[in-house]
């Protein structure tokens, strides 16, 4: 029994001994960064902060930012433990990771510097262990475009005409209630996630358009529901699936005898 207790203490002590980290930024696009984090000891707990230069925390010293984050996490955790009458998550569940991970940061500001601080956390004291490992990256600027989109409906057909031929853009539509439910009411979030998925899985180029397109909902989409509201959006996009324009969105009600465009 004494041996087991000593063994447990020894294991637990290893978690509070600093270990090194291998951190690599593998991909950067205007709004994304993919970071690989690999601790030397796969059993230690760690966390990371992500800051941009337009963020107030950018000015903080690394130690103040890192330790201040842990302090905030502690306050959040204590508050949650007080008000949640059935708790599931431990402190490390809520705020830390273990083992190697590939983290994909999305929705970053383009043309800006960003900073990642990775640091080990003692699961018992919930304090930082060892050094802070810092990585800085810069997201490239987006080459904005001034193309616009003319979206017209006739019967059950839509025609999308960009103001300039040959320039990449992306268009899609979905039921408005689904966008509200799954994408926080935002066509922007919906299209961003779609483009991000196509980019991640390597077939973005086959999903973008250039030039006019015509689409007949009645014959080309058998899942259209009579009387349901849909949102159709078009947006300029670059080779990484980033937005180069604002969205142009039209809401409509699908009707078999002719689409009703909403104001």
């Amino acid at each position: 029994m004494l041996f087991l207790a000593l063994f447990a203490v020894a294991c637990s002590d290893k978690l509070s001994q600093p270990c090194g980290f291998d951190i690599e930024v593998t991909t950067v696009t205007p709004s994304r960064a993919i970071i690989r984090i690999e601790p030397e000891n796969k059993d230690v707990w760690y966390t990371f902060t992500f800051t941009s230069e337009d963020d107030i925390y950018w000015q903080y010293k690394d130690e103040i930012h890192a330790d201040g984050s842990l302090e905030r996490y502690q306050q959040i955790y204590d508050a949650h433990a007080e008000f949640e009458h059935v708790s599931a998550a431990s402190f490390t569940d809520m705020f830390c990771y273990r083992g190697s991970m590939t983290y994909k940061a999305k929705n970053l500001s383009a043309g800006m510097r960003h900073r990642i601080l990775v640091f080990q956390v003692d699961p018992k004291t919930r304090l930082r262990v060892g050094d802070i490992h810092k990585i800085e990256l810069e997201t490239p600027a987006i080459e904005a475009s001034d193309i616009s989109f003319d979206i017209r409906f006739e019967g059950t057909t839509v025609k999308i005409t960009p103001s300039r031929e040959g320039e990449r853009y992306f268009w899609d539509y979905e039921r408005t209630d689904l966008i509200e439910s799954n994408y926080s009411f935002s066509n922007q979030v919906f299209l961003y996630n779609l483009l991000d998925m196509y980019w991640e899985y390597g077939f973005l180029d086959s999903m973008v358009s250039s030039g006019s397109i015509t689409w007949n909902f009645a014959t080309q989409d058998r899942d259209m529901i009579e009387g349901k509201q849909y949102s159709l959006s078009a947006v300029g996009t670059d080779k990484n699936g980033e937005f180069t324009t604002e969205l142009t969105t039209v809401d409509f009600i699908y009707r078999k005898n002719g689409i009703e465009v909403l104001p």
Binding site: A88, M94, L194, G202, R222
Partner: protein, 409 residues
């Protein structure tokens, strides 16, 4: 109000309490949940072994090389024995009003399990794992998740569309909206039914449980309840295990590595999402000739278990099942499928109740990347991530049920 005839389920249970006998079928006519049959049976035999009627997961994924906790399936469930309230359970199979994939009314079926004795603490709403044969569906079998009822809970397990009374229909596999709706509709039906038979839970709070397909569906159920039924079903806790929460990551791994996970899952996903989303895909664009010729029998007949379907398929790699066109992401059809997989993934909401999420690192059926993606998405929420060396996907299911049972009061 319809007239209730010959209810007395409890008196039938009293008759059958000596040993695990099956009482006479009782007919109960009630507004929300129409009983087809009742029976009682024990979860555990006198020897302490699990009742062989209990349907265990069968995906044929035994791998002697996986690092596992040093327990067998039976040993895992024996750990439950010391903490149960009632070994005798009443199985009530019935029908209720649900919806089809387009939201139109559809009669569905499922099973409600309640302990033969003692109070009912909460309603557990279960989303079941992948099955192939109709005889495996909850209304026609003793579902593994049903043993949670031994701890004093009412357990409601819906048959998804395509099983039970709708076994002639295509199952919209991994179509989260319709599968989650079938689960919620059953819960809506059994809630007043439980009150009617005098087994109303002591607490209004519900517990959600699901593993594998059920793990992902459980998260969809959680979201649906939060969005649409928060006062009907205040959620106490959610238990999700081994789930394909990120369908794109799951499917793309198969595509990139030319692996199948469980072979039948690939055509089931393609067909199921096609059915649920109305994509109008042509299966000949996706399935190799042997699969194309036989999938209606192997999968849609509902005659074969998942393990049997996998043997019939005999596939070692994805290209054994899917055509080059189907594996070409630049094809319009495959791109449509990927889009639909994104919409049917369940990493798209903020949970407002505690979650226990478990996944085995050795899981080759539902790849561990799903757990990693879920952890990143749900970090900073009240989620306990339990990722460990729990062996294969099916062994993980047993471990999951044990962990859930041990966590329940």
């Amino acid at each position: 109000m319809k007239t209730v005839k010959l209810i007395s389920i409890l008196s039938a249970v009293l008759i059958s309490l000596s040993g695990c006998q099956h009482p006479e079928i009782q007919v109960v006519d009630f507004d929300t949940f129409h009983v087809l049959s009742t029976k009682s049976s024990c979860a555990f035999m006198d020897s302490g072994e699990l009742n062989p009627e209990v349907r265990l997961m069968d995906v044929g994924d035994g791998d002697p090389d996986t690092k596992i906790a040093a327990v067998t399936g039976q040993s895992i469930v024996k750990e439950l024995l010391g903490s149960i309230q009632s070994n005798n359970l009443i199985h009530i199979a019935g029908t209720y009003q649900g919806k089809d994939v387009n939201g139109a009314p559809l009669t569905l079926s499922g099973k409600l399990l309640v302990p033969a004795k003692g109070p009912v603490k909460n309603l557990i709403i279960v989303s079941h794992f992948t099955i192939g044969a109709n005889f495996e569906c909850p209304s026609e079998s003793f579902p593994l998740e049903g043993i949670l009822a031994t701890k004093g809970y009412a357990v409601a397990i819906a048959d998804y569309i395509g099983f039970g009374v709708t076994s002639k229909m295509i199952h919209p596999y991994m179509h989260t909206a319709s599968t989650a709706q079938s689960v919620v509709d059953m819960a809506l039906a059994v809630k007043p039914y439980l009150a009617h038979i005098g087994r109303k839970p002591e607490s209004e709070e519900v517990i959600l449980v699901g593993y594998s397909q059920g793990g992902s569906t459980t998260m969809a159920v959680m979201k649906m309840i939060q969005d649409q039924y928060p006062t009907d079903f205040p959620i106490k806790k959610v238990y999700a295990g081994g789930g394909p929460y990120d369908l794109n990551a799951t499917f793309d791994l198969s595509m990139e590595e030319d692996v199948t996970g469980i072979p039948c899952a690939i055509p089931m996903i393609v067909q199921g999402i096609n059915e649920g989303e109305g994509l109008n895909l042509d299966m000949s664009d996706f399935f190799q000739p042997n699969l194309l010729e036989n999938y209606n029998d192997w999968i849609n007949s509902k005659r074969y278990t998942v393990g049997q379907i996998n043997k019939l398929m005999g596939a070692k790699a994805l290209h054994d099942l899917m055509t080059p066109e189907g594996r070409d992401k630049t094809s319009a059809q495959t791109a449509l499928l990927y889009r639909a997989l994104l919409i049917n993934s369940t990493l798209n909401f903020t949970p407002r109740a505690p979650i226990y999420m478990m996944h085995s690192r050795q899981d080759r059926t539902v790849p561990f990347i799903n757990a990693q993606k879920a952890e990143q998405f749900f970090k900073f929420n009240n989620v306990h991530f339990d990722f460990g060396d729990y062996g294969s996907h099916s062994l993980g299911a047993l471990r999951f049920i044990l962990n859930v049972a041990n966590d329940l009061q």
